[in-house]
């Protein structure tokens, strides 16, 4: 088991170290994730029902209200 874990670790460690094109790609992925999760999700894309209401019952009430009012 120990040997398997060590070999898996070496696979990833050596793989990351020997990357060529992969370095740019990982940089791109990390930048993308930071922009998506730390900026867009936090500042621009709140989950409307989760932020406005604290229980599922309140959320259900809100949606029922939205779908029946003035229709």
């Amino acid at each position: 088991m120990k040997n398997f874990i060590y070999r898996t670790y070496r696979l990833y460690a050596d793989g990351f170290r020997e990357m060529t094109v992969g370095r740019s790609l990982w940089a791109l992925i990390i930048i993308k994730m930071i922009v998506f999760f730390a900026i867009l999700k936090v500042f621009f894309f709140p989950d409307i029902l989760s932020t406005r209401y604290s229980t599922d019952a309140e959320r259900a009430d809100a949606v029922r209200h939205n779908l029946t009012i003035n229709q």
């Binding site: 696979l11 094109v21 791109l28 621009f44 599922d56 959320r59 779908l67 029946t68």
Partner: protein, 520 residues
């Protein structure tokens, strides 16, 4: 234009933008994974190390595309929660289950085996490496399955019951949700179109190598693999496309009518091959729908039923609730005006349920639930201002459908030509015009692929969930300006990302092409 309509339009535009950018990456990932797996299989079976180098070349391009495309689909989930909160609550567990399975599969299969694919050369056995490559290819297709199941449910909502207390649809039959005819057909059509797209990509890039006279042998053998995958893919895509048309005629007949610009149905309807729509045509105005068209006689009836006499309802027929049996008997279903009235009854029942629910009156709740159930199939129609509001944008649906079909036909000829040249007329592989055909086919296959999704998604308007929830009811209570702002942010980010992918890919192809890629 009212604030609500502006919010709806900007939210739709934003969703379309992000979904279309996402779909630039996905089909190439699906198809290229298969091609790489096939190439590595040839290497393992023959022991010819040139195939190892060729596999690594295409695998790197797969990796670039995978890295650029990964997580672009997450943005769509952000949008569900923010812009489409009524919708995302209303769909309930139906979306949650397939997306959760997709997340687990994507994480465990792709993340694990992609790492072995890229890092495992010379570190794991050939057999294990090959298995990892195949499992990656399987994993990306299975990820697509669950997303497409969720999408198919929106087009054909089955296997659920609406619970007015939770205000959600509750899954009652997982297998019906996951494996109904629409979802299965959609899955195969989308995945196989990825084979076609990747086939053209491989032939196109290889054509560029031939044009520059670099790595000629590697390019020639890559063309053969790409062309076979693309050829089999396009044949099966045509077959599943036919299946899609049959399903659409059954569950979304209005979409089919819009795809063909068909306003007045009849028995034995022609299929429009090429045509120009009358831009002034409106439902029920008696004008000709087409300014010009070249038709395939009885083609539409034949396509959806296998007979030349099948009645196909047009837009006017569907609005009026008119249909005719194959024997020519006129039958009437509910007209859209009646369905709107039924939808309003359902909403009234929901209001009654709410009052009873708050008062704790279980008898009144049960009565309201019965009334709601009786009218639930038309629930969404209650939000429409007129029967004509149930008609999708006909021009966009019609043209995108015909662009997809024409380019699909072109791609069949393209792959036949490439296979013929590769096996029977190899001297032609040196012709620069053929190289240009290969290179220029790359953007065409992406246009074809995107046009297919435009047909599917614009053609189902105004519904987010067919017949149950139109876009104007699915939307969140948000100012249009905030959605507009995030639309432009996404436009900028995704354009930058696409430019980064194209730039990294072109630089890699250019650099690798100057070396012997068979000796990697």
């Amino acid at each position: 234009m009212t604030e609500l309509l502006q919010t709806v339009d900007w939210s739709r535009a934003q969703f379309a933008l992000t979904a279309m950018y996402h779909w630039l990456f996905v089909p190439l990932t699906i198809g290229l994974a298969l091609i790489v797996a096939l190439m590595e299989t040839i290497y393992v079976r023959t022991g010819d190390t040139r195939w190892k180098g060729i596999t690594k070349f295409w695998m790197t391009l797969f990796g670039i595309n995978f890295a650029c495309g990964v997580a672009t689909g997450l943005i769509l989930e952000f949008e569900f929660g923010t812009n489409w909160s009524n919708y995302s609550w209303f769909v309930g567990d139906i979306f949650g289950a397939p997306l959760a399975i997709e997340g687990l599969l994507a994480f465990f299969m792709e993340a694990t085996f992609v790492a072995v694919m890229f890092f495992g050369w010379n570190k794991v056995s050939r057999g294990f490496h090959l298995a990892s490559t195949w499992l990656t290819a399987l994993g990306v297709s299975l990820s697509a399955l669950w997303i497409l199941v969720a999408n198919a449910w929106m087009q054909n909502p089955v296997g659920m019951e609406f619970d007015p207390a939770q205000m959600r649809n509750v899954m009652s039959n997982f297998w019906e949700v996951a494996f109904n005819a629409v979802s299965i057909n959609k899955f195969f059509h989308a995945v196989l179109s990825g084979w076609v797209l990747a086939g053209v990509f491989v032939v196109g890039v290889s054509s560029w190598l031939l044009f520059r006279k670099r790595n000629i042998e590697a390019a020639r053998v890559s063309i053969k693999v790409g062309a076979w995958v693309g050829f089999i893919g396009i044949l099966l895509t045509l077959f599943t496309g036919h299946g899609s048309a049959v399903q659409v005629s059954r569950v979304q007949p209005m979409k089919l009518a819009a795809m063909e610009g068909l306003y007045e149905g009849s028995s034995g309807v022609d299929l429009v091959g090429i045509g120009i729509l009358n831009p002034d045509k409106k439902p029920g105005d008696g004008q000709d729908a087409m300014l010009f068209s070249i038709d395939i006689p009885k083609g539409l009836s034949l396509m959806i039923d296998g007979t030349t006499t099948r009645f196909v309802p047009g837009i006017d027929d569907l609005i009026a609730g008119r249909s005719i049996t194959a024997d020519g008997d006129t039958v009437y279903a509910n007209s859209y005006a009646e369905r709107i009235a039924s939808g309003k009854e359902a909403q009234e029942a929901l209001r009654e349920f709410e009052t009873a629910y708050k008062a704790g009156d279980t008898t009144a709740m049960a009565l309201a639930t019965e009334k709601l159930k009786a009218n639930f199939a038309d629930f969404g129609y209650g939000y429409l201002s007129s029967p004509e509001a149930a008609v999708p944008p006909v021009a966009l649906t019609f043209y995108s459908f015909h662009i997809m079909v024409l380019l699909g036909g072109y791609l069949l000829v393209f792959f036949l030509l490439v296979l013929f040249v590769s096996y029977r007329s190899t001297a032609m592989l040196e012709k620069s015009w053929l190289h240009w055909v290969g290179i220029l086919s790359i953007p065409l296959v992406w246009i074809c692929s995107q046009a297919g999704w435009v047909t599917a998604e614009v053609g189902r308007q105004p519904w987010t969930i067919q017949d149950l929830l139109p876009v104007n009811a699915a939307i969140s209570d948000l100012p249009a300006g905030s959605v507009q702002l995030t639309f432009w942010i996404f436009a900028a980010i995704f354009t930058l990302m696409l430019a980064a992918e194209i730039s990294i890919m072109l630089r890699y192809i250019s650099r690798a092409s100057k070396t012997d890629i068979t000796k990697k």
